[in-house]
Point group: C2
Chain length 195, copies 2
């Protein structure tokens, strides 16, 4: 139904043209909403409409702030990778020596990654999306580099690279397993590698 006649704002028409809201954080909230959708339904579940629904904004708003869906995905995953990398960097920074660093890695795996359920899901979604979307490959590259550099505060480059891979594997296997490894088992594995 095209409204040729101007409706008063109080009209009870189907969609009464919501008052336009001035809110400068909207773009941010859309990115968070996108991450929520990815965590719950996967990248496949991300659509302009779904994100708009979760963020409680009109459809037109999402297409206004993000030209394409890929742009939205790139920003969302960048935020995710940034936040995980920041936490890990802090963990490495606060470790005074090599032994403490190992313990920090254990905590990072068991608390930061495996503890908060959605983070690993987001990461795996990122990995698979990165296979096909070049912009996301760059995100994973940067993340891996930061991760290794953080480790290099306490370990030589080769060890850092291998350790990073081991951590990845431990996290992934635990995430997929019905019988995930305990913090103690993770500690044992890391000490064995670094002994």
């Amino acid at each position: 139904m095209r409204t040729l006649v101007r409706m008063p704002p109080t009209s009870t028409a189907a969609t009464p043209r919501r008052a336009r809201r001035h809110d400068p954080d909207r773009r941010d909230r859309l990115i968070d909403a996108a991450l929520a959708v990815i965590a719950e339904k996967g990248v496949a579940g991300v659509s302009h409409r779904e994100v708009a629904r979760v963020a409680d904004v009109p459809l037109g708003s999402t297409t206004y702030h993000f030209t394409s869906l890929d742009e939205l995905l790139a920003e969302a995953f960048t935020r995710h990778a940034d936040s995980v990398a920041l936490v890990f960097e802090e963990r490495m920074r606060e470790a005074p020596d090599r032994v403490a660093a190992i313990e920090s890695v254990v905590r990072h795996v068991s608390a930061d990654l495996l503890g908060a359920g959605t983070d690993i899901v987001l990461s795996v979604e990122l990995y698979v999306a990165a296979v096909r979307i070049p912009a996301l490959r760059a995100v994973t590259q940067t993340w891996m580099r930061r991760s290794r550099q953080a480790l290099e505060r306490h370990f030589d480059p080769t060890t850092a690279r291998e350790l990073d891979a081991l951590v990845e594997g431990l996290v992934l296997h635990s995430a997929l397993s019905t019988d995930p490894m305990t913090a103690e088992q993770i500690r044992a594995a890391l000490h064995r590698f670094l002994r």
Copy 2:
């Protein structure tokens, strides 16, 4: 255009109703086609129509053989996991001792997994799909169990589990990296862990 008049088979009508083919391997070929689609476009790219196109069968044929898309995905990933597991089991079987077993693992990672590009993509797609589709969780579980059991021919259970995780991490990092690890680097990492 509904054809109320019976068309002769030689008619040049839009879709001349292809001769029905008796081919009992159709189901198998559909599963392979599904794997090809997953490798090329991801799980998100799998649709009855796309699989039908790749397998060169009519749309109705896919919906006939597989009630739902999830059923098709489950069968496809089961086939993939089976085939990778079989290769790995063979590699472990042919290794006479522990040292040879390590070398077999190196070859498995660098040749079987990283060598043939599509396999890792399929695996990562499986991991992420397994998060949301219960039937696929079972597939990953079985695969992990077989993998560990194969390793247990040469290593104790704890070592097997840790080694399995390390392999996973090495493969994943190499697959995602623009600068993947060489076979030599992988060998070094494994020897370091098992030294």
